[in-house]
Symmetry: C2
Subunit: 180 residues, 2 copies
Amino acid sequence: MVRKNSSRTGGLEPASDAKARRVPMRDFARSLPMSLLRAREAVMRQFRPSLRSHGLTEQQWRILRALAAVDAIEVTELARMAFLLGPSLSRILRDLEASHLIERKLAKADLRRSVVSISAKGLRLIEAVAPSSEAIYAAITRRYGARKLAELQDMLHELERSLSELRVAEDQSAESGEFE
Amino acid sequence: MVRKNSSRTGGLEPASDAKARRVPMRDFARSLPMSLLRAREAVMRQFRPSLRSHGLTEQQWRILRALAAVDAIEVTELARMAFLLGPSLSRILRDLEASHLIERKLAKADLRRSVVSISAKGLRLIEAVAPSSEAIYAAITRRYGARKLAELQDMLHELERSLSELRVAEDQSAESGEFE
DNA sequence: GAAATATGATTAACATGTTAAATGAAATCG
DNA sequence: CGATTTCATTTAACATGTTAATCATATTTC
């Protein structure tokens, strides 16, 4: 029910032929991943200039904010909080530490782990950025509507929750395709 | 109204102090950007293994699908369609061309522009990937609910639309903060 | 129509995403 | 307790995101 038309057009001149859509599928531009990507980009476009004017990337800001919410935290837990993969986090922590925005020390009980915390300098930076960040968030909320925004967040969390129960289909080719 | 507590804690031992939150702000993990990021990641986690088994990245797949929907298209328009920045697109097109999945030629009327189209090999690849891709999308729709999914997409598009009218505040520090 | 300006596309440089492999330390097994 | 396995983190390698700069071609201006 998917393989619409097997238009094997042979080796034709690609631009001087029919202008009709070849493999339509589910109108690509309106797919869920694209909708989510575009919406997130529309939001981040509002924040990036402010962060950038303070020399911060989006991810660095996420880490500093996560650290500001706790006293100290292990790297793995920080990755979960800031929703970053280990390798990204590892690099960013190295740079933030070099900038003296965070501090790091080994866990006494387990030398594999290290514990990260924000520095006084990092806190000052957060306090410098927070006002414009809050103002932007408030402007977005005003524009879109606080009620609708809360509803959207609920639906996003529910999407995330329901997909967490869906096992990913690894080698689809070897399975019959039906799961449940 | 933002600068909650200016807890300039001096040069203290960062881990042996209070465990209370220092700069709470808007509970960071539930911010709109994080919600959108997490939701999108939950969705893409379903698709990536299938794409990967065909040697495709998410972005390469977006480009091929966009190209499959048209006969030929200029690079700038393709960037708009696939929602990619010029530099990313430029690199990916170079690689896709080297793999003979796309074809490229100069526009006769304007030698600055080039026109891209999908190749027969590219079409075959799409037809090979589409079934599992459609199956995954169908599974997501079943799980979350078709009605709710459509509603979510509407809300995302409305968010994107309403933010497009919000001018970004460049140098917040130099402005009085109110816009409208 | 030559100089200045604007535009389409690419390249450069640096940061992050993504998967695999490596490294070092802790836990487990025999 | 020594070998194996597991675990936390980092490094490696490659692809993309992001902004600035470059390059070639078009357009505009005088």
